[in-house]
Symmetry: C2
Amino acid sequence: MNVLCPLPDARAAEHVDELLTRPGLRITRIVSFGQASPPGFWYDQDEGEWILLLAGAARLRFADEAEARVLRPGDCLDIAPHRRHRVEWTDAAAPTVWLAVFCG
Amino acid sequence: MNVLCPLPDARAAEHVDELLTRPGLRITRIVSFGQASPPGFWYDQDEGEWILLLAGAARLRFADEAEARVLRPGDCLDIAPHRRHRVEWTDAAAPTVWLAVFCG
């Protein structure tokens, strides 16, 4: 299995694939293509989430920070449970591929 | 934090960095530069290990398979606990970057 090739066409909607599921652990691949969180929506998750941007570009905003973080390939970020966040932007010109490791 | 840039110089020895540690979960980055497992050595691990090659190239051999698997960027692989394996080869001309998620 290769997480970068082939990629599903995510123009119409984000694609989420489970890569591994173990007790207390889920690894997923998310492919975005211009999608962002709906206006006013914030993720507020029971699980911790560790993300690694594999391709593309995104802006992720934490509710407790004034500015969105720009994410480029190789950037990783640990999101603590219930730390509210949203995806402000993903590149509309090319796929953005996220690896997300959920734990707890 | 970016897992691809900057990279430590791994010519003399592999570099292992812990990116995240949670109960039952460890995410590490391994940077190789031509290293391979010693002749006759097999990993035999209590933990499950999920790997994702982020850069470079490698050949990974399972003891229960006749041929080594060639790994390119984006290739991922689930290694069950105690499934014996070894790294037969990593590219000696450029860094090979592995993401390894250990669980259990």
